[in-house]
Amino acid sequence: MSAETIQSRREWLLSDRPASRLQARLGRAYVAWRRFSANRLALVGMLIIIALVLVAALADVLAPYSATVGDLKNARLLPPSAAHWFGTDDLGRDIYSRIVYGARWTLYVVILVAIIAAPIGLLVGTVAGYAGGWTDTILMRITDIFLAFPKLVLALAFVAALGPGIENAVLAIAITSWPPYARIARAETLTVRNSDYIKAVQLMGASPFRIVLRHIMPLCISSLIIRVTLDMAGIILTAAGLGFLGLGAQPPLPEWGAMIASGRRFILDQWWVAAAPGAAILIVSLGFNLLGDGLRDALDPRSGDQ
């Protein structure tokens, strides 16, 4: 591709008078990307998350050993070596392989929580904001009540009732993490509810259902994505905490929090059993935090340095 065509493409993207909706959208995305990619830390965050996804997808290729079956006879609690990069645990399993497979469970938790909690928050927030009146008061009162709760403790109580397990942990975390999304969605809805174009759609006879779904919800998406990304680290930490307490993923699942819990028993002598999975959690949450900060600065310049 010649420099000229690149130049003309950039001009097309940055045009003041986009000829089509697509061009306008691409142009906006391009501007946001330029702002995002100027932030080196945000790029690091994105690389970490891409790496996480790749590791999860290619776990079968990347992991030299089984994640669940170990060599009890010869390979118990070995320190890190060329054969076992991060050592082995008390059941003779290769910790590196378990961490690689654990990436899948981390993604599993994060994605499931996001696709359960975000739509609930979006729905509650937009309906409350658009309907106003008593609906708004009651829905927001409920949201505030959930917001006033300690999240981890509430998740613990839920898991206590539902029984331990990774699915229940996901459910418990989702139940405790939707309220901020409802807050954001409502705030966004309030800013557009009385705008002229919503009035125009109303005049054309669109049903409230259609207005909320087609005209209000899409506007809340970008701030919601930012918030969900920023929350990812918290979700990972809560899930790991539940796993650590034995309430999340159950053995022999290679979930990182549960791996730390099993390494705890040998922490003073075989510290590496617990060290490696914790480092993995730290790196991935750091990645989500960096990515979230970068996205916020790129998509929402108003928030500036907050």
Binding site: D144, F146, A148, A157, V159, A161, A274, L290, D305
Partner: protein, 355 residues
């Protein structure tokens, strides 16, 4: 002052009183509904989700007679709404049932363990605020400098690190290798039997009674878990302080303060921080509430006999009354802190008094 002006002033005074009363009324409504909501959720968790709530409370080894009596006591044959009414009534009396594990009333257990958690969280918040506020201020004043970068990295790691893991590594380093701190517990066994606490806050109690050897021992036990919680709160407090300070430093009154010839020190600490302090109160209160929660994991790692360890022990033994009682206890303190910080905000900000 003229008569008319006096009347105006008096009118303003009573308007202020009315404003304060009405906001107090609103606080009460919020507090009551939030607390009811908390009870509704724990009721839902304890009575609705389990297939047999009695089993959830007693475990499956209880004799049939006990099961039957508990079933009647819990009012499980009544309609939901009546059950909830009885539940709320009991909770307001501080009656959360009996713990299977300790065989004590849950409330008595909570009274016993809560001071340990408060001591830990308070020390953590003090560490977090004492380091976090100046760090945030410096990061804002020297924006983009090395100290700003350091504050940013320290904060990001604080947001991303699993605290229980950091605690374990801390034990390896400071307890096993360096032997700077004592083993996971609240006091050495020697003192467990000779020391009589007064308030339940051991550092304070030891100091009051002048038992400095106990104080030293208690300090060696609390310092690492408190430092860890302090780090979490430092990450949050420094980040928010920086952001509030940047906001204040961009205001016109800062230019005016410079025009008055004030020193930078005076401008930063006397004007900008004074203004930032108003929202900072809320941040520090929230961070304190978060530490109460963070204590659940920290206490488990450090065998710290507080509410967090109590809840997790009860969880492991399917002791539902104790779990929910602990949840309500932490939740209530959470709600109280939220409301207090709101109230404090209003007291500190002169603009809200006449608003």
């Amino acid at each position: 002052m003229s008569v008319a002006e006096n009347q105006v002033a008096a009118g303003r005074g009573s308007a202020r009183a009315v404003a304060i009363l009405s906001s107090l009324g609103r606080f009460l409504v919020v507090a009551v509904t939030t607390y009811l909501g908390l009870l509704a959720v724990t009721f839902f968790i304890g009575r609705v989700i389990p297939i047999d709530p009695v089993l959830a409370v007693l475990g499956d080894r209880a004799p049939t007679a006990v099961v039957e009596r508990t079933r009647r006591e819990m009012g499980l044959d009544l309609p939901w709404i009546e059950q909830f009414y009885l539940y709320v009534k009991a909770a307001l009396r501080g009656d959360f049932g009996t713990s299977v594990l300790t065989t004590n009333p849950v409330m008595a257990d909570i009274r016993r363990v809560f001071p340990a958690t408060i001591e830990l969280a308070t020390l953590g918040t003090i560490i977090g605020a004492v380091i976090g506020v100046p760090l945030g201020v410096l990061a804002a004043v020297k924006r983009g400098s090395l100290i700003d970068q350091i504050a940013r990295v320290v904060g990001l790691i604080g947001y991303s690190v699993p605290i229980f893991w950091l605690g374990l590594l801390g034990l390896v380093l400071f307890y096993a290798k360096l032997q700077w701190i004592a083993f996971p517990a609240r006091l050495d066994v020697v003192y467990e039997y000779t020391f009589t606490p007064i308030t339940g806050f051991y550092l304070l109690d030891a100091a009051i009674q002048g038992q400095w050897d106990v104080f030293h021992d208690a300090w060696r036990h609390i310092v690492l878990p408190a430092a860890l919680l302090g780090y979490l709160s430092l990450a949050y407090i420094s980040r928010m302080t920086r952001s509030f300070m940047l906001n204040e430093l961009a205001q016109e009154y800062i230019v005016a303060a410079r025009a008055k010839g004030l020193s930078e020190t005076r401008i930063i600490w006397g004007h900008a921080l004074r203004n930032a302090a108003v929202p900072m109160v809320t941040v520090i209160a929230l961070s304190y509430a978060n530490l109460l929660e963070g204590s659940v994991l920290t206490e488990t790692v450090f065998s710290w006999p507080g509410i967090g360890l109590y809840i997790t022990n009860s969880l492991q033994n399917a002791d539902m009354n104790a779990v929910l009682g602990g949840t309500i206890a932490i939740g209530s303190v959470f709600i109280a802190i939220n409301l207090l910080s709101d109230l404090l905000y209003r007291l500190l900000d002169p603009r809200t008094k006449t608003g």
